[in-house]
């Protein structure tokens, strides 16, 4: 897994928002990489900076109020954060595809589906109208929309939530991207529809050898989907691990607590859930210590003063914590 050349390499990304209420420290120094063909899940509660992190790579955060304070994001040997808007647009349309939680926001409500699909194809691949139409039908069939040819004339609101998400995937596939970023694409969907979408993405990924970044707050979805997981909290990555190690032996107190708080559907009723006290942080102050310190049962004095950096603890796992939560002792 490690030998694969990195497709995307993000280093020390910091993003802030300057709002009337004060500065929001949304992303506080994040580094990670995605290898070709790899599926990485980004897990964190709402407000932990998942979306801002990915959107800032693609130049999709509003500036101002946003500000990218530092960082590099090398994708195919080019730094996305330094690309001019024109070229970034090409990258967004062709090399990196995105799907979002609410597909309605990325579909034009007054254009038919066919129009939106074929336009993208004509623009990016110089296809004729006829070719584009055939390709569009092909794509809709690929994402499992029955009766594809006749549905090209439909408007987005005529599709159900799950269908719209399929349409979004079809639009994204139109350009055959190297990387797909999916931002909570199934959060608004029911479990049965979620299962359909997850299966669809897996299938397509295998077929097209696409890399995948799947953003979610659901540790359950991740387990069946990702090779590697980044756990985010308070605008930082607190743990990075391959999926087996993460669930078997989480190394950050937050991950540990989160997994312990989760009821298991295939286990008989336990006595009581192990809840995490307190609430996630508002990111209105610059981090001077560990963002999880106020809720952490292993907290030390230095956790308030010093920011733990993401350090390898095994070949497959990194954690940003001074303490080993399994022994309760400070790490060397």
């Amino acid at each position: 897994m490690k030998q694969d050349p990195a497709l995307l390499n993000v280093h020390d990304l910091q993003v802030r928002f300057h709002t009337p209420e004060g500065t929001i420290y949304a992303v506080n120094g994040i580094s990670f990489h995605i290898a070709e063909g790899e599926a990485v899940a980004v897990v964190g509660e709402s407000g932990s900076g998942k979306s801002v992190c990915m959107m800032s790579l693609l130049g999709l955060i509003p500036i101002p109020p946003g500000e990218i304070v530092s960082g590099t994001a090398v994708f195919l040997e080019r730094d996305l954060l330094k690309l001019p808007e024109k070229e970034l647009e090409l990258v967004r349309g062709r090399d990196i595809g995105m799907i979002f939680q609410d597909p309605m926001t990325s579909l034009n409500p007054v254009l038919t589906l066919g129009r939106q699909l074929t336009e993208a194809l004509v623009r990016h691949f110089n296809l004729t109208a006829e070719e584009a139409r055939n390709r569009a039908i092909e794509l809709l069939q690929l994402v499992g929309i029955p009766d594809a040819a006749s549905r090209l004339g439909n408007y987005p609101h005529q599709f159900s939530g799950g269908m719209r998400q399929r349409v979004m995937i079809a639009m994204m596939l139109a350009c055959n991207p190297k990387l797909l970023i999916a931002d909570e694409p199934t959060t608004a969907l029911d479990v049965t529809i979620q299962a359909q979408i997850v299966e669809l993405v897996q299938e397509i990924r295998a077929k097209l050898r696409m890399s995948l970044i799947w953003i979610t707050h659901d540790l359950g979805v991740v387990a069946g989907l990702a090779d590697r997981v980044l756990v985010m909290y308070g605008g930082t990555i607190v743990e990075e691990a391959d999926v087996e190690s993460l669930y078997e032996r989480p190394q950050h107190p937050y991950t540990l607590a989160l997994l312990a708080a989760l009821p298991r559907v295939h286990q008989r009723r336990q006595s009581r859930l192990k809840a995490i006290p307190g609430a996630p942080p508002h990111l209105i102050l610059e981090l001077t210590g560990c963002p999880f310190a106020p809720r952490c049962e292993f907290v030390r004095d230095r956790c308030w003063r010093e920011r733990p950096l993401l350090q390898p603890v095994s070949p497959t796992q990194k954690t940003a914590c001074f303490v080993n939560p399994h022994t309760g002792e400070e790490r060397a």
């Binding site: 029911d190 479990v191 708080a261």
Partner: protein
Amino acid sequence: METNEPLVRVRNLKKHFPIRRGIVFERTVGIVQAVDGVSYDIYRGETLGLVGESGCGKSTIGRTMLGLYPPTAGSVNIAGIEVTTARGAQMRLLRRKAQMIFQDPFASLNPRWTVSAIVGEPLRIHNLEPDRQRRDERVKELLELVGLSGRHVNRFPHEFSGGQRQRIGIARALASNPDFIVCDEPIAALDVSIQAQVVNLLEDLQTQLGLTYLFIAHDLSMVRHICDRVAVMYLGGLVELAASDVLYEHPLHPYTQALLSAVPVADPKVARKRQRIVLQGDVPSPINPPPGCRFHTRCPIAQPHCAQVVPEWRQAQPDHWVACHEVEPKQGF
């Protein structure tokens, strides 16, 4: 904890919403069969889970049970009160004894009211603490009961986080000393790390106060944890009801089986090995639900007669209810 005495008895409950068009002369252009003939009991002290996909009618059941929607047909009896016909003193008693907790912690608290007014409302309406000072004391007690500080009485909802607001909603529901609470997806809108806090609180309160819950949810893992029995709903009707461990380990109805197999499991080893039943297509519209068994359009084991005959709601095994033609009752039962 649970006795064999039902606190709540629901029989053949139906709730249809007409879809009206027109300005002066309204005409009915269709009927949403949101709830179409459900029957079940809830025993005193137990938690009955109600699961199903969004739009299948869970909230409508909860609201109709509390008399917030007039039912189209059927009966609901809560602690001896016939909800569908209750008037006057009976209705006031019902309003005290049955309460509700909501999903959206932002829409469920009046943004212009202080916490003290919100939590004190049931006390005021039912004249439980006529004295203003005593009422404030009681509000503080209630807040402390749900894990908030009594000092917060003069604050407004927007000053609290989602989890804290949900606690305020719970305090309000507890104010009139209810026996029965409908919890309509009370944790669905909360952060993952907050959900366990609220679930633990609900469980503690149940033990402490002897409450009976109808727990509506779509998170099946949480339902298994908190519920004694679980009812599964599809497109306005119940398809299966059983004790939770029985339902999760031996689901009979093909929809329940599909639903359970679609639940993501937070364990990569289990997740990889699992055999998934991925249902095809979407849930049909409740305006023109399929005839016969409503699930037959997506059912992996559907037979021709499933499209014609409505399956009977029956006990396939003792205390294991199911509505399916293709599930055989156990031998000798």
